[in-house]
């Protein structure tokens, strides 16, 4: 079953076509990576899926539903969650509170419940707290859960961002360079974590520059270059693909 499908997705900024006519899909339970040199249009592609940018042309189908006209928060409600390339945690909140925010979009209590502190609100809040606690256990963040999130080391902040995305109960998780700026040990941990997330039956779309990580965990890889999709396939196919090699290393002369 296709979780996400794009058809002829295009985004132009004035004269520059950042993403050009990209057809792409993800099946349920897959880990798919999107790679490409800097400026290839990967993040633009992400931003279109998550409603930050509106596509110039083309469609985005999520579980068979058109989503490209929805606003960012509505797309999250539909079941797509993301992390950011430059960490964007809420700086005045602890780790626990950051992850709890993700749960709030699933809450049903309204303003009246809030003012009168009804039973429904209390039940909902304790339920949300339990779910967040489960995520914290899953990500092994118990030790730091009451620390201010932005004061933590980079690797842990990345994990908190993933936790926050998981808390929105997504069907599709978009990770924008989760291993950027990490050391080898942390990268290895991140790789294991992404696998663990997939094993919990989430579907994952990944943007990543670290080839070892990408080749290690992806079921399928799509390569973007200057906004065009130049190749798609399993990691071993991509490693052999001439166009991919030339995009990354340049053409042989002669």
């Amino acid at each position: 079953m296709k979780v996400l499908e794009t058809k002829g997705l295009t985004k132009s900024f004035g004269g520059l076509t950042a993403v050009n006519n990209v057809d792409f899909y993800i099946d349920k339970g897959e880990i798919v990576s999107l790679i490409g040199p800097n400026g290839a249009g990967k993040t633009t592609f992400f931003n279109m899926i998550t409603g930050v940018y509106e596509p110039t042309k083309g469609e985005i189908l999520f579980l068979g539903k058109e989503i490209y006209k929805l606003r960012s928060y509505e797309i999250t409600l539909e079941g797509i969650a993301r992390t950011f390339q430059n960490i964007r945690l809420f700086r005045s909140m602890t780790v626990f509170e950051n992850i709890l925010i993700g749960q709030f979009c699933r809450a049903k209590s309204n303003l009246i419940d809030t003012i009168f502190n009804t039973k429904r609100l209390k039940d909902e809040q304790s339920e949300a707290r339990e779910k967040v606690q489960k995520i914290i256990d899953f990500l092994e963040l118990e030790d730091v859960k009451d620390e201010i999130a932005v004061s933590l080391p980079y690797g842990i902040q990345k994990k908190v961002e993933i936790g926050r995305a998981l808390a929105t109960e997504p069907k599709l998780l978009l990770l924008d360079e989760p291993a950027a700026g990490m050391n080898t040990q942390e990268k290895k941990e991140m790789q294991d974590l992404i696998r663990k997330i997939r094993d919990k039956s989430y579907t994952v779309l990944l943007i990543e520059h670290d080839m070892k990580l990408v080749m290690g965990i992806s079921d399928r890889i799509a390569v973007l270059d200057y906004g065009n999709k130049i190749a798609e396939g399993t990691p071993s196919e991509i490693q052999k693909d001439k166009r991919v090699i030339s995009a990354y290393l340049g053409k042989e002369v002669g």
């Binding site: 409600l77 005045s92 925010i101 209590s109 620390e147 004061s151 933590l152 080391p153 926050r164």
Partner: protein, 365 residues
Amino acid sequence: MLINLSIATIILYFGIKIISKGLDAVTFKVTTMDNKYKKRMKYIIVILSIIFPLVARLSPYILRTSIVALLYVVLALSLNLILGFAGQLSMGHSAFYAIGAYTTALLMVNLKLSFWLSIIASALIAGFFGLFLGIPTLRLKGDYLAITTIGFAEIVRLVLINWGELTRGPAGIPGIPSPSIFGFIIKDNVGYYYIILLLAFFTVFLSYRLLNSRYGSGFIAVRDDEIAAEAMGINSTYLKTLVFVIGAAIAGMAGGFFATFIHYVNPDNFTYSESVTMVCMVVLGGLGSIPGVISGAMVLSILPELLRGVATYRYAIYGILLILMMINRPQGMISVDRLKGGKSKNEGFGNKRINKILRRPYSSK
């Protein structure tokens, strides 16, 4: 004169440093207290504020000053919802205050409506104007929002001055009757004290309920990072508009109270400096911290009275105090970080709450 002022500056500087330490100690004590004691503290504060006028009635001056202080507590808390929680720099809060005051004044004088109905109407109409202003302007951020809200407040003031048939222009509306409750007409200031105290309790209560709910967290998420908040499924436009309407409605109620308390409204009561005073109270007290904003409002409304003794230098000292306060304690009197049990950000990394983590060898910061 300059010599006197510089001496005052030096004294104030060290005074603030000492008071600062005291405030931190108190906040720390309170946050680390048992829930049982916290509850007891709450009751003590409530009871004290209820029996206060029975003592203070001996001095009408003190009673009147405390009514004004409580009025500003309500106003500052309503602005704190917008500025402290949701982080929207609204510099035109006096507009809603004015709209509320004039609504109550007109309804009570022209239609002989009861005070309680009028004050609810004030809240509704001010809230409506909040919505009316909020929908187009809350797309703007920071400085731009500040400018548009200043513009709105000026428009309201100019309309009040120039719409002679309705508002009697600069002459204002005199003869606003006193409120009555169960047939008793409230004549003395003790009665007014209880009305504004009720309003203040209501505002504090509402602030806490909002803060501890998903709405409050949503406001703070929007303040911290709007794009990330949207990515978490938070409808930031809705939340910002909502908080703007609630803040405006409460300011409108405060305005309604003001109208009956003074018995006279005129456009000069609602100038730009009134908005600035409210912003100062919120910032001085501590953005987003409810006890902080309450103390900020009290200090800034009582201080000018205390400084009457040094009449000539009154506003100079007031200004110097604000400047020094912002240099020494940019986080405000009672900061949110401390309320959460940590220490403030600008105290560097000697921070109990985070040093455990920051000292790890691979820390990237």
